[in-house]
Symmetry: C2
Subunit: 321 residues, 2 copies
């Protein structure tokens, strides 16, 4: 006899609440917000074939589903608190659920965020997560705070996830070990939660790179009413991506997406504070450009010539896959 | 040129925040929880063919998607505050989005709940909503509070949504006007938010009837460690359902589901307080049974004989449609 919905949820996703007053299993979960803090909320929906491939191991998908949501909390500098999970599954597949919940809950434990509610139903494979976090009033990192003269920074490196996708698509070939590394970047990204928290009071704006550097930077520039000049030669790329031709590097690093690195701005005098925050969080950060008063984005190559950015405008979830 | 994802969200779902500190459009929304209140959270995922038919007008689907979530806040007695929306759509269909957002936002405005974030993507039609509300500490209505001797109450009437489904399935025929009435109950249910709020401090337990009376009552009994005796002749059924044979009435009212009425218990001395709360909320409530110390559920017919409840055990989201 197949497991019923309620048994299924209970078995894989119900654990004793830690911080929540009431966890999974009633009509609502109950939480006690920290007095004086603001509540940060974000939601992301992952659909097979668009946000993940059918070949992804369930444990990595569980991790990634939460990571992409944690990345939004990171971009706000919020402390993770709780999340809900909506799962639509073609059928009750216990090994799949075991792997998925293992990856999901391992990252949750490591990030100090608690699963407080969910809904499971039959249907096409779809994962919806809503995360909630806390941030001291006025300290949330917003997209709208970039000022002319601010330095533009990127955490980690960009483009590996897209490079892995191109290997899956057959347009790029990589040695096995390199493929495993970039595949992990695509299937099991790390959200920069500690960095976001450490940048509170230092960064003037922030966003996470989910749709691609050019597109996501565009959101910051539009929200802040400013422009940016970026030095292509300073863009942080992994050693694996550096083995690729310039054209592949550009596509992957500038419009690849799925990076979940933080892209942020900080006043010019704050370089040391930024580096200290990054060191605290154990993440490398690289200055890649500067914010300018005139709207528009220019990315210069090594010779100072502007790159053509039309091809890098960002990920449209309604564009053909 | 089709609308891009961001334009699409902006056009139909972005409005100036009212209560939220920061609404749709950044990585996270920001909210200021009311000092001293607990935060109630619930999530529901609606999939075509399982939670709604392809024939449902988009405006009604927008309403229902939020209503089923508000119903969880109602069952906790929480005040609605904010919600997020995740939408997977086969294609960008502007008339559909217009209708859906109209129904969704009209109910949101009427319920004092604010859309603070969302995610839209291409994929099979799926609607995910997470609602957040507030409740004074210790006053949330839980499933676990029913005590032996408590009276069992139901709001409104049960079974009309299932009756409408049976008409769609071709197993029942109804006059056109009656069909329109029950179809509205199925496609545009009302969440009993005001009643839930009014029952704080009065009801000992509560749940909303989403999977069917017998199944949902079973959750309350299990969580409370008690049993119940229900009088079938007192179950509130609409005039439309009363035209049906006893066998149809039983299936619809006892295991129909999709009712979004409140099923709650209250101490025997609180009948007057319950009736006053119902009157304040403008909702009819009916006492249908009593909580007993011995686990198990018995529903008696007019002659005092127990009904066979095996057929009414509740909705399994993984059972064949």
């Amino acid at each position: 006899m197949p497991l019923g919905e309620f048994d299924l949820i209970r078995q894989f996703f119900t654990r004793r609440p830690t911080r929540a007053v009431l966890g999974v299993g009633d009509d609502c979960a109950l939480l006690s917000p920290t007095p004086g803090y603001q509540w940060a909320v974000s939601t992301d929906l992952l659909v097979k074939g668009r946000h993940f491939l059918s070949t992804v191991p369930p444990q990595r998908l569980g991790h990634k589903s939460l990571a992409v949501n944690l990345s939004d909390l990171a971009a706000c500098g919020a402390n993770p608190v709780a999340f809900t999970l909506s799962l639509s599954l073609p059928r009750v597949d216990e090994p799949w659920l075991q792997g998925f919940s293992k990856g999901l809950l391992a990252l949750a434990d490591r990030s100090g965020i608690e699963l407080v509610g969910g809904d499971t139903t039959a249907g096409p494979l779809t994962v919806g997560i809503t995360v909630m976090g806390e941030v001291p009033p006025g300290q949330a990192l917003l997209r709208s705070g970039a000022c002319a003269g601010d330095r533009l920074w990127v955490s980690g490196s960009l483009g590996d996830a897209r490079l892995a996708l191109e290997v899956f698509r057959g347009t790029v070939a990589l040695p096995a070990a390199a493929f495993e590394r970039v595949r992990l970047r695509m299937e099991q990204p790390e959200a920069r939660v500690s960095l976001g928290q450490a940048l509170r009071g230092i960064a003037s704006s922030a966003i996470d790179v989910s749709d691609g550097f050019v597109g996501d930077l565009g959101h910051v520039l539009a929200a802040s009413g400013v422009g940016a000049q970026v030095d292509w030669t300073r863009m942080p790329c992994s050693a694996d991506l550096m083995t690729q031709p310039e054209s592949v590097r550009r596509v992957c690093a500038l419009s690849g997406g799925d990076d979940y690195e933080l892209l942020f701005t900080a006043p010019p005098g704050s370089d040391l504070a930024v580096q200290r925050a990054a060191s605290t969080a154990g993440v490398q950060v690289t200055p890649v450009g500067v914010i300018v008063p005139t709207p528009g984005l220019t990315v210069h190559d090594a010779e100072g010539r502007p790159l053509d950015l039309v091809a890098h405008a960002g990920f449209d979830h309604f564009a053909p896959p």
